[in-house]
Amino acid sequence: MADTETAVLRRMRAARRKNRGDERDWIDAWYELWLRGFFAIVVVVVVPIVLTGDKLDAHALAQFRDRGPGVASIVVAVTVWVALRAGARGAPLAPEGPDVVYLLLAPLPRAAVLRPLAAQQLRTAVSAGTVVGVSAGLAAAARLPSGGGAWALAGIVAGPTLAAVLWGSVAIASARRLTTRFANAIGGLLVVAAAADATFRTWLAPSTWVSSLSLLPLHHLVPPIVAVAGIALAVGLPVAALASIGRTSLEPLLARGALTSQMRFAASFQDMRTVVLLHRQLAMEKSRRRPWLRLREPSKVRRPVWRRGWHGYARWPLDRLVRVVTLLAVGSVLAFAARSTHLLIVPAGVALFVAALDVIEPFAAELDHPTTLLTYGVSIRMLLLRNLVAPVVALVGLALIGAIAVVPAAGGHAGLLVACAVSAALAAVAGSTLNVTLGPPPASQLAMLIFSPDIFGIVLLVRQGLPPAIAVGGLAPVVVASANSDAVGIVVAVGIGALSIAVLLYASLRGV
């Protein structure tokens, strides 16, 4: 870039900073910094304490050494696959709209405009990776040999490495303009290679090289050359991405900038429904023109709302289907692990809550258009309530299939598993329904927050925290049963199921 153009960019960035400074209070800036520091400390200090547990015995440790690298490799490969798909759809860059129209359409090398943005994203990803890595390392130290220092150090290496590999995968897919089909092919190959490593106990897959860094403190497990290959990949991918960043297509960038800023705004107001809708646009998730299954055409439609729900599900894009099933699977695995580490029901419940936000689409879509709702010549209360039948049947059905599938692996406990699956599914639907009907905090509460932050801050926290807390509560039978007996767990599950139905009824009526 010529000196004059560099000078123009620098001068205008300074003018923008100055204008922003005039608008922004310094207290806001300090508050933002404080929040970031606070969350970093919570992740590094509190999470390992919460996830603490007993040291693995010799048998469990031997199993971990045997299967751990393979499982970690498959997890990394699947994550890279998701990253490649995101890159094929235009992620990760999201420049401001005016930057696309004025800077990227100006006669300047596009790399010069996009590279600083990309480098900033990479720095943020690596920093977040370091924090999460240290936290995960300290959590691992509680159960595995070698001591906290070694595991924390492994986290400091593995966290940023994984973050750099993921960011590099997204960015290179975007810059090299991979098609979704090609991204799927590469991702699929990576997963197959990881699965082969897991099966044959080899270290050949690229995802195994990356994941191996997290296992370095286990003596004589990871070959040094494999660890070096992992670090080389973490350096090479971002460098290659930054080198070709100027080739990024402008088509998705214009929409991404606007959507990202809207999503941040909605998230800051804890407006989850808007976040869900914007995320779908950002991921270019569109309903299928041709449904997976066509419902039979009856001579007379008797249950239009029920049919509407299933028509919607039948047109779900593959991505949404995979996301919901993955969240349910992750939630189930965490819930299973919560038998020994009880607090794991929190992330498990949150995973089910997020999945349910998608599943209650027929209900939420009606609430998105309240004025249209008023034009229907039917009882709005009944209409909203009926729109919840398909989501409840869908989620409970999926949960039951999952529960029955794991009965052999769980060594029986069929009654408890079924009861837990139903209570968790009902609670997740109830929590997400309540979240949608509550919506973002009303302006009156936000105004009170300014005058009395100590009281209304807590009120807002409870208001927005209650829906996911209900979903988490749906998994309480898991903890109760592990501390008592299956019978007690089943009784608690029935009680929670009944409570969830009550919340569901309340939330649907509140939506009127």
Binding site: V8, M12, A15, L105, E251
Partner: protein, 232 residues
């Protein structure tokens, strides 16, 4: 800049096709537009007007075919230098005032003398009183005026504007038409996508799209006007 009386083709579109998920937004469009022409790009909603302007501007990549702007492939550095684009939705920095927008865009294109034309445009669009203010505090119409002033502040061979009359009051619409006519008279090719029948009486040429296909290219006539009024 080419002179009006020696028309040369500043824009060539050859076999342009653009598809989205199997749906063709543009189908094998061929056309050329000469310098000094004010061109009205018309068609019903979804006809492919915005897609076509996006491809010409270099924002959207064609699935097939080629677009040449002043002899250069659309989206390349020289083509970007030769073209100015304003989309249907005004896109502005929330932390730059009107003057700073004009200065920035002009300077990015190496135009030093932006103050005189910039001031004229600001005055013409009735923005003089608010030119020190930030667009985040503007109404939709004022943002539209600012975006148009930014698009017109530098001399370019091709000017591409999408639906510029939306949100503008009658005075601003007249001012804009005057500015676009003056720009065409000075030798630029000015392409305006619009549903505004009034604009046709000022246009030298009309390009009509229908379902992504080129339906008509030539002087504005009664048939096109009827089609446009049908869509109003």
């Amino acid at each position: 800049m080419p002179h009006r009386h020696s028309p040369t083709s500043l824009l060539r579109v050859s076999h342009l096709t653009k598809t989205y998920d199997g749906h063709a937004a543009l189908r094998d469009v061929n056309l050329r537009m000469d310098s000094g022409h004010l061109v009205a790009l018309v068609g019903h909603n979804g006809a492919g007007k915005s897609t076509m302007l996006g491809v010409i501007a270099g924002l959207i990549e064609p699935t097939d075919g080629e677009v040449l702007v002043a002899g250069e492939i659309a989206g390349t550095l020289p083509a970007r230098a030769a073209l100015s684009y304003a989309g249907d939705n005004p896109v502005l920095y929330d932390d730059l005032n009107v003057w700073e927008h004009l200065e920035y865009v002009a300077a990015l294109h190496g135009v030093d003398d932006w103050k005189t034309p910039g001031r004229e445009l600001v005055k013409m669009f009735g923005l003089l009183d608010r030119a020190d203010d930030l667009p985040s505090r503007f109404s939709r119409g004022m943002r539209q005026k600012t975006a148009l002033a930014v698009a017109l502040v530098r001399p370019t061979a091709v000017v591409v504007i999408d639906e510029p009359f939306v949100g503008l009051d009658m005075r601003a619409q007249t001012a804009l038409i005057d500015a676009l006519v003056a720009r065409a008279r000075s030798g630029s090719t000015v392409i305006v996508a619009t549903h505004q029948p009034r604009f046709l009486s000022y246009a030298d040429e009309c390009v009509m799209l229908h379902d992504g296909r080129l339906e008509y290219q030539g002087p504005p006539n009664a048939e096109v006007l009827v089609e446009l009024e049908k869509g109003e």
